[in-house]
């Protein structure tokens, strides 16, 4: 998977314009915009630090919901001190789709979340014709507050085409102040807070299947 930071490196070296993010910061005053950029730069640095960590303790927790179409794996990565630095969550939901989510933590606080969801549906135009969709959202958090969401979304008639398309797609910055964004941010925050506390499969299943 192409991560945001691979895209960033591409831009920095001037190699890949395809990864260019379209940053429109709405009506933010110039100084606020500059502040956000500084914080995003720090977040990118934290990301690189977590990715470079060696000898992390890895724990896979498999879960399946009874009576609900959902199953998946939650992978915790923690330092030897027990401090969680990254959580990967891969799950399949009913409706021909699923998602991979990655949560990055520093000193117990989430600073970056990547949610990559994909699904297929019938086009409804011609019998058997389907449309596959992939959507990536990147959430940047600073001091517990979401400061930026970037989104890429592509569709294709075949699932195998999605990876290539999304790597070429441009990021779109979402307005953080719409009702939809607020709802999504609250949900990501809730998950980011709870996930590090889930230490066995039962607890993971309880959270995802029972919403507790």
């Amino acid at each position: 998977m192409r991560t945001l930071f691979q895209c960033q490196r591409g831009l920095a070296s001037g190699v890949s314009l395809l990864c260019a993010a379209v940053f429109f910061a709405g009506n933010l005053p110039a100084e606020d915009r500059a502040g956000v950029e500084t914080e995003v730069a720090s977040i990118r640095q934290y990301y690189v630090e977590v990715e470079a960590l060696q000898d992390l303790q890895k724990l896979d927790l498999v879960f399946k919901c009874d009576g609900e179409p959902m199953e998946g794996v939650l992978t915790r990565r923690a330092k030897s001190t027990g401090q969680v630095v990254r959580i990967d969550l891969g799950y399949l939901e009913g409706g021909h789709g699923g998602a991979d989510e990655m949560y990055y933590y520093r000193d117990g606080q989430v600073f970056f979340v990547l949610v990559s969801a994909s699904w297929w549906q019938f086009s409804g135009k011609k019998e058997g014709e389907t449309i596959d969709t992939m959507r990536e959202r990147r959430y940047y958090f600073s001091k517990g507050k979401c400061i930026r969401i970037l989104e890429k979304k592509v569709t294709a008639p075949k699932q195998e085409q999605l990876r290539a398309l999304i790597s070429k797609a441009e990021n779109r910055e979402l307005d953080l102040n719409t009702e939809e964004s607020k709802e999504v941010i609250a949900e990501v925050r809730r998950k980011a807070d709870v996930l590090p506390r889930l230490e066995d499969s039962k607890a993971v299943a309880k959270f995802f299947c029972e919403g507790e």
Partner: protein, 318 residues
């Protein structure tokens, strides 16, 4: 196939492990431990009898959902010959949660269809956890009409937590597709036998469940909602699912007592997932028996009996 034990089976599995270890030790050391082995074997038999004879409704629900339980395509393989799968609903597309096609049962051509679950993530992505979309129900009806046209009986296998309640399914009128099946299945002029092989979840089950004979496997369940869903509505908490399962009268035994179903097909000790072949034989013999009986009826009798069977559901017996 190594069978994953359910929570309530763990004491049995522990004893079986002890027994295996003792047998290994005794063979390796050349020490006779026959009396001890015999004692444990006796204890295991007794425990199995107690556990499996006294299964609660909730334990049966857990068995009904076991991922190693035989699914529709396992029965197709173990009970039928020459299965030829047909695809598509001739409107929108195909639904892999509802495989369907022509097959032979004891040499006689029929249509067989049912809900299909997956055993792993890849299969569940394809089969959507056995929750069919409208296309599945429309494909099922298309094939049932083919059976009607060619005078071939229909066998349906029910195994779904429910029809898929997603946005796409609603946009393409899942409720209408099921309701249409209910009406049309009542009018189909060939014998229909439905077998609940695992989960019989609500309208999703009924959508292929209007039949002249409705059979249930001993450890399957058939109900208007899952126990978790019922608990969430009634007690605002899914943790009461076990109580809900008991209150809902969803087991084969309960439903037979209320004449909702016609026959209970016994399962091998511990559940169908312990022995697919034996389970397949039992299902096949029940299907042959019922289809032979139904062949004796003329079309008018067949349709009238089917209609009466469903009309009397919910009659108050004061």
């Amino acid at each position: 196939m190594k069978v994953e034990p359910l929570e309530f089976e763990k004491p049995i599995v522990d004893l079986e492990r002890q027994l295996a270890a003792l047998k290994d030790h005794s063979a390796g050391q050349g020490v006779g431990a026959e009396s001890e082995i015999e004692k444990i074997e006796e204890k295991i038999s007794k425990m199995k009898y107690e556990v499996y004879q006294g299964l609660t409704a909730w334990q049966r629900v857990q068995i009904a959902r076991h991922t190693q339980r035989p699914f529709t395509l396992d029965y197709v393989e173990n009970c039928f010959d020459d299965f030829l799968e047909l695809h598509g609903d001739r409107h929108i597309g195909d639904d892999d949660a509802m495989p369907a096609g022509f097959a032979r049962l004891e040499g006689r051509r029929c249509i067989v269809l049912g809900h299909q679950k997956g055993r792993n993530t890849k299969e569940n992505l394809l089969r959507n956890f056995g929750s069919a979309h409208p296309e599945g129900y429309r494909k099922a009806l298309r094939l049932m009409r083919l059976a009607d046209k060619f005078g071939k009986p229909i066998v349906t296998f029910i195994d779904t937590p429910g029809a898929y309640p997603g946005i796409g399914a609603e946009e393409r009128n899942i409720a209408e597709a099921i309701a249409f099946n209910l009406r049309e299945m009542m009018r189909i002029k060939v014998p229909i036998v439905a077998v609940v092989i695992g989960e019989g979840g609500s309208g999703g089950a009924l959508g292929i469940g209007i039949a002249d004979r409705v059979l249930m496997l001993e450890n399957s369940y058939y109900s208007v909602i899952s126990p978790e869903g019922c608990a969430a509505i009634l007690w605002k908490d899914r943790k009461y699912a076990e109580d809900a399962a008991t209150a809902m009268k969803l087991t084969a035994k309960d439903l037979k007592a209320m004449d909702v179903i016609d026959e209970i097909i016994p399962e091998p000790l511990g559940g169908a997932h312990h022995d697919h072949i034996t389970m397949g034989r039992s299902v096949k013999s029940a299907l042959v028996k019922h289809l032979t009986e139904l062949r004796e009826l003329d079309t008018e009798e067949l349709l009238e009996q089917r209609y009466e069977k469903f009309r009397k559901f919910g009659e108050f017996r004061g």
